[in-house]
Symmetry: C2
Subunit: 390 residues, 2 copies
Amino acid sequence: MPAAKRMVAMIENSSFIRKMFEEGTKLKAQYGQDNVYDFSIGNPDVPPPPEFKKTLLDVIENGPGHGYMPNPGWPAARTAVAEYLAKEQGVAMSMDYVMMTPGASAGLNVVLKAILNPGEEVITVAPYFVEYGNYVEVAGGVLKTVPAGPDFGLDPQAVGAAVTAKTRAVLINSPHNPTGAVYTKEQLDGLAGVLEEAKEKFGQRIYLISDEPYRKIVYDGIVVPSVFQAYDHSFVVNSHSKDLSLAGERIGFAALNPKADDAAEIAASMVIALRIYYVNAPSLMQLTVARLQGAVVDVSLYQKRRDMICQGLAEAGYEFTTPGGAFYLFPKSPLADDVAFVNILKEERILVVPGSGFGGPGYFRISYAVPDKTIENSLPGFKRAMEKVG
Amino acid sequence: MPAAKRMVAMIENSSFIRKMFEEGTKLKAQYGQDNVYDFSIGNPDVPPPPEFKKTLLDVIENGPGHGYMPNPGWPAARTAVAEYLAKEQGVAMSMDYVMMTPGASAGLNVVLKAILNPGEEVITVAPYFVEYGNYVEVAGGVLKTVPAGPDFGLDPQAVGAAVTAKTRAVLINSPHNPTGAVYTKEQLDGLAGVLEEAKEKFGQRIYLISDEPYRKIVYDGIVVPSVFQAYDHSFVVNSHSKDLSLAGERIGFAALNPKADDAAEIAASMVIALRIYYVNAPSLMQLTVARLQGAVVDVSLYQKRRDMICQGLAEAGYEFTTPGGAFYLFPKSPLADDVAFVNILKEERILVVPGSGFGGPGYFRISYAVPDKTIENSLPGFKRAMEKVG
């Protein structure tokens, strides 16, 4: 066995999402692109905002070239993000607490590496983005999950009940993948209270890590509350994969609340973690997004799709919570066995991901980052699948 | 102590190179940019070849956009690299054995993660690029070093003497950082022989990993021999940081010799390792370098600088081996204590890195990826420093 043993195990357990992606490719080859309704992957298909290309071309023409920059990123990019975050989060920020990272996944890895000692626990809310388990494990920690509250909201008491002396961090994601839930200010304040109580009880500071790549993809006038205002000992990790539709370019950041306990030491650890375990974010994209803080794709395109899929599934008899953000819907599977139901949908050439793949069995995930006509043409199939099992 | 304990240790041991970089920034603020001769960092300062910008703009205008691609990279990019490698290395290649990575450091990490089991050993030749130690440690392995041969060449017998039943890989770098040595075909063939003997003796296959970011930066008509031809069980890791002057953009690849034992399983492990531990290479740069395989910066600029610094140091009485490639020179320190001599050079506002920082005490490293006038103006200082200690 020449590959590392743990890698061979990982090949066998390769994620549901990726498997769906590959099966989708096969079905499309067989039936034609337009006759397969692929809701399996969250790959933004709306174009970047128009100012993106203009800015990119200007950076190429007039920027500092393509060489190395300091590990945590171009000062101009870190400063721009800090200034934007100060407004968005409503707290004083400086570039010292912002690291540009190649996407949010890198940002989360850097934060976890910076704070976790071997065996320490990280709590997240299930259902959850399954890669979190890998990120925590790679950083030497242990991921524990607690159930979501009603409508997939955050339940501070559930988190409180799971806290132990080994808990080092709580990792939240809002707007949420795979449910589209947006946590409320009351929920964040409740969580902050629970974490302060835990500090009293166990003596150790628990950090809050907020993964926010969908922050700007929200509907119906919803405002995503500020994590930095709710709790001092916090990180915000973000990427421009979704809000600027740049998923393939790997550009994001990890920011630390300057009021966090021992903020300077943690920030220094983040810089080292980025250097040792990762690489800097790509130069051209750093300098481009520096000038596009606050810009966002046309969210109304996603809102229209959300409304189409929600209306269609409601008419077909599916139960679900209407998502307030992101581009995911997480309906209840009409069969207790969500994998079985996903296979029934596949007979209709509809590709979705079983909730089991997100620690949420009995549900399935629809990514509606797809063309309108994919949604429209899939609805009869969703209806037939429901009739088959209903 | 809120940051992870191992990170705090790393902050304290932060690399020589980075420290020099920061001290350099301070000196420059004090004496002015032009009065500090900074040879401490290998940041290419020659522009990318002219076709780079044209291609980049065309990819922006006519490419597939900025979304996700399959983890190992755009098929067009993997295919282009495979086709180029087939010519360069003189072996049959396909895209299945090429992963696009965000630079060579990511490529090396992906290869090491893909093959190393906990506690397995990797042998490299000292002096060496110190980050290798981190890469191997992060992958759960142990780095062992063997001394270089004459003129910093590869000594196959030294490698052979260090092989044990736990040896999993040999990691070489040619053209070499920090010495500029280029390994010969005879040295590679000798190493291949040693590794085949080790297979007979210990039963386990030892893989050869060749880190080649300076492959195209060579002088005096030197040709870098093919690792894939010398030994079947081999990887080539490369980046376009140096040959296209794109160090900040993080674009490179890791390629596996299709003839390697269990090549398919290892390639699958590399894909997973890239997904779990790293991120895909940035989309725009993948598609751009796909069309620039074989292109290279104007190497004559580096050759001119090599000649200037070599002539100047020879006249000042320094001993060194003339480098055949890369943009580094590794002279003998006139004091046994290289750190002390580096501090004497600093009094002349000359910044170089002590050989100790590369596992090569008694030497120091000059990176001559700097403007001609930096070299010219530094030479009197090099001379005075020699006179002080001589």
